[in-house]
Symmetry: C2
Subunit: 447 residues, 2 copies
């Protein structure tokens, strides 16, 4: 009898799980079940379609129909899983015509994703208020922006800022409202976040920070928001206030959640119930620096966890030991990214840290086109071990984040990084790579 693997969800984590399971077990029956009509697309690409960098939302579909055929994966779209029964090892499903059935599994992988968090704001039901999660969301926003002159984005996380930039690129007047005191909260320390905010302000985006939105105003359709004493005009409001893990189905089946209210798994991505795995935005991850549970909710984490779940569900052996939350984005021409635990987070966790920030150039100073770059490094004071990298720069930030992500994962110290070897040629780098200069400054502060 072939192994039956059911996967709930069919995006980053789900499809990577299916793909990994198939590679491990050529004969398994693998079924992906999703509520959505369109599957296997890149949510992370939505803001970049809005901004006009990618032509069509359909371009975001990373896994076309042919992929499922080649990989012999059954795909049930517009189908809801209504119940998981771990005793009988079955899931109950219902399709869009209301037809119900029960499917049995040997291994079940839950990649149920997350749902946009709905902040407590009056008037969210008004026309012209959107969330950003699905291709359909993207299409609605794109249509609305055509007729709009102004937009307010609620939330200044990665998605919020990416959408704000997209609106700005479409020549709208854009405001971003954030109830925390700085942009990219939890990702950057304040000093770095301030730089990002200033860059975006120079591009014409207005920020209202440290104030919650009181109300979305307008009769039937939104025409503005009230925040503190101010009214900001808005033909369109996009809410990007983070996402909440989809755990109801799992919880009802007796699957345990962690501290973060996401599904708890071990390093094999196994839940507390036999043969049930979980991966992606619906699970809790471990922060590699602190060892504490966190919500990662990044595409890179999702695909890695999905792969591990898929391999294990198909009888293989793989582990996902945790995450540094390495992230990157591009806002206008500036790349911004980070890895590890920012200094303010380190303080919260009781880690005694020390920081150093430098500015430099991305290429030899005399080479035309050299762009500014700012690097902040944070190390554990006692050991000198690197725990965070934060970079804002004109180019090649992404791979510097990867380099420092590798360094943090391998427990490199500031001392070691200050001595580390980098490569140099005038068109692409400096003899003294900015990462090394930042490490040297950090070292001087530690000693």
């Amino acid at each position: 009898m072939p192994r039956k693997i059911i996967i709930i969800g069919a995006h980053a984590a789900g499809v990577d799980a299916a793909s990994a399971a198939r590679k491990k077990d050529r004969s398994a029956q693998i079924t992906l079940i999703t509520k959505e009509k369109k599957v296997g697309y890149s949510r992370c690409g939505l803001p970049f379609v809005l901004g006009g960098h990618i032509e069509s939302f359909d371009d975001l579909i990373v896994f076309p129909e042919s992929f499922y055929k080649i990989m012999k994966l059954s795909l049930l779209t517009e189908t809801t899983v209504t119940k998981i029964d771990p005793k009988t090892k079955t899931v109950d499903i219902k399709d869009n015509l209301g037809k119900q059935q029960s499917l049995s599994y040997d291994s079940l992988i839950i990649t149920a994703g997350a749902t946009p968090r709905v902040p407590k704001i009056l008037g969210l039901e008004k026309k012209g208020v959107y969330f950003v999660r699905t291709i359909e969301d993207g299409q609605k926003i794109s249509k609305a922006l055509k007729a709009a002159k102004s937009a307010v984005i609620i939330g200044s996380g990665l998605v919020g800022l990416e959408v704000a930039v997209a609106c700005c690129e479409r020549d709208l007047k854009v405001s971003v409202v954030e109830f925390l005191p700085c942009v990219l909260p939890f990702l950057l320390d304040n000093d770095m976040a301030d730089r990002v905010q200033k860059m975006l302000e120079e591009k014409g985006i207005t920020f209202v920070l440290a104030e919650p939105v009181e109300e979305i105003i307008g009769s039937d359709k939104v025409n503005g928001i009230r925040v503190g004493q101010r009214v900001l005009p808005a033909d369109v409001v996009v809410v990007a206030a983070g996402v909440t893990p989809n755990v109801e189905l799992a919880e009802n089946a007796g699957i345990l959640l962690g501290k973060t209210k996401a599904i708890k798994t071990n390093s094999k991505m196994q839940t507390n119930l036999p043969d049930i795995y979980a991966a992606g935005d619906c699970v809790e991850s471990v922060n590699l620096v602190t060892g504490e549970p966190i919500l990662s909710q990044l595409g890179t984490t999702a695909v890695r966890q999905g792969k591990v779940a898929g391999i294990n569900a198909a009888g293989g052996k793989s582990e996902f030991i945790g995450t540094l939350g390495s992230w990157i984005t591009q806002l206008f021409e500036t790349e911004i990214g980070g890895s590890g635990l920012p200094a303010f987070m380190a303080e919260k966790y009781g880690v005694n840290s020390i920081s150093a920030t430098i500015t430099s150039k991305t290429r030899a100073d005399y080479f035309p086109g050299a762009l500014p770059i700012r690097i902040k490094l944070v190390a554990e004071k006692q050991t000198g071990k690197l725990i965070s990298a934060q970079i804002i720069g004109g180019e090649e930030v992404t791979q510097r984040i990867n380099a420092l992500s590798f360094a943090i994962q391998k427990e490199m110290t500031a001392q070691e990084l200050a001595k580390a070897e980098t490569c140099y040629a005038p068109p692409v780098s400096e003899t003294w790579e900015p990462m090394i200069l930042a490490a040297e400054l950090l070292l001087r502060k530690i000693n």
Copy 2:
């Protein structure tokens, strides 16, 4: 009495040594002595001025006169050191007017550099034959190229190929002659080198490999070269056949050379004689993978060694433990780089290695402008430890080399790299970073 530090040479290693010494000892008398008229410039930039990417050769001067004033460094240009006397701790010098004197030192740092290697070829004395080392060389070549229609480059190392590209960008007919069987010898494995060659051939450069140049032909002025049975026309010939460490002065003073015929130092950059240090192209380095002596002769190695020598010469404590020879260049729109020990070199050193090569894209596949990238990883078979990275790609190769250079330095295994965390956003990267995919393939081959 202030400490007297004399530095022979005033380029990458020399100026960085001076700078580091000054930071360590505010009151030291620091003197740099060089034969050249122009100092403190980037030799690595010469081909890029020839290609028109940088406006003027003077733009390459990284350390202007003001730098020496601010740092209180005495600079003697157009001055030759004729003798080092370690017993009396003096150096004899002669300026361009023939005036001689003797200077005493407490610490001496030799950063005498290297001289273009002169291959055994008939006709090298003809007009129109050039070497590439100094700004003056660059200026002469640049002038010659204006009147030329064809150029032959002898040598296909980094400088050779960079100059070939520059000549091509100036619309000359360009041939590269290399007596070894592939381009970038010692830097890339054959399979990767072939790709570079093909890319350059598509741009119009002709290659004659595995054949030594017989003769440079022409009556007074060069008009071609004879290689094997063929005659290649050439109005200009540029010899880029590597460099030979300048060691005569050191050798005459009793300073020991290593296996590579370059100055031997310990990790403090101390020679065998008390208070005499050496750094840069004239010294022997240790390969971090094999532990064997090598000639590094890269700018990054020079500045790092110079800094260590400067700190130690000024009474501080610093070490340079060796190099991976991490390198990078840009030829037309393609970045090419490497770090560590290529597979063919590993074989020579008796290291049992295994390799994997993948091709991928530099950004999300659906993001316009995503460019191809090819990554080769080599690991020690027994341990899985990474020993080499070689990359050819359209963008962001440099920092990937740095990332893998950090990985090799921290003895990361293929297993660890396959699981390592990278960052992702559609405009700048893929969820499955090509470096990780290459590590996965490598791992499958090891297991």
